[in-house]
Symmetry: C2
Subunit: 148 residues, 2 copies
């Protein structure tokens, strides 16, 4: 991946997030981890990815603390990849990506699956950006301001 | 970018979103467009990116309907890049990336800038995944279910 050069961007929280997770495969691995996958072979089967590429991506995700290696849940000698709290906190990013895809990447009525609340079985609410007062905000209602 | 091969993934809304925007530079261009940049030279200066790479990314973003070419706002002969509605609807993704970066990619107290509500000057609320009832949901509270 070509790297940014501008110093200005190094100070941007969006840029720093993308440094950690901003490539297609890393995000697909994270998605699969949220779906419950934990083993190298599971990720490989799901993503159809060459072993060396998957190895590199997993190592990077462990290195930046998004995944951690843990003993296998079945007591075998294998080790598994589990999301850390830092990784679990990526959940709103995945939900936002999913919801945009539902709207724009499928024909109406063709979305094949939904993220639902287990308890009610109903799809989760659409993510909305809100002010502290609860008012809905679109991008025109907001701006980036330097720390005082 | 290496492409996925699994058919299963082609049906995933997350994967389809990432097909459109899932590389570092595309998301940085979209970020800059949200910050108000519209001209080739502005993106280039901000991102420190080779002209040919920027040209390719902009063409892709126009091709998938996230940006559109419009007459220059100052009446000159230039054309500018503007976010379409499809592009503006990426806002929650950018906000989610920013908020995760604020938490995990800076030392406490070192976040250099904030996304604020223009009206109140207060930072926007943290994005939260919620059930239709309004209950907060984490990833364990949810699952992906096929369309009935």
């Amino acid at each position: 991946m070509v790297k940014r050069t501008s110093l200005e961007n190094a100070d941007c929280p969006v840029a720093r997030s993308l440094d950690a997770i901003g490539d297609w495969w890393s995000l697909m691995i994270i998605r699969d981890a949220f779906l419950g996958m934990r083993r190298f072979g599971e990720f490989q089967k799901s993503l159809g990815l060459a072993k060396n590429i998957l190895t590199t991506r997993l190592r990077t995700l462990v290195g930046c603390g998004i995944l951690e290696l843990v003993p296998a849940s079945d007591g075998s000698a294998y080790r598994e990849y589990a999301l850390t709290q830092k990784g679990r906190d990526l959940f709103p990013i995945l939900v936002a990506l999913r919801q945009w895809g539902e709207t724009y990447a499928f024909a109406p009525g063709e979305v094949p699956n939904f993220l639902v609340d287990r308890k009610s079985g109903q799809p989760v609410q659409k993510l909305e950006v809100r002010a502290t007062s609860g008012r809905r905000l679109n991008s025109f209602d907001t701006e980036v301001r330097p720390r005082q």
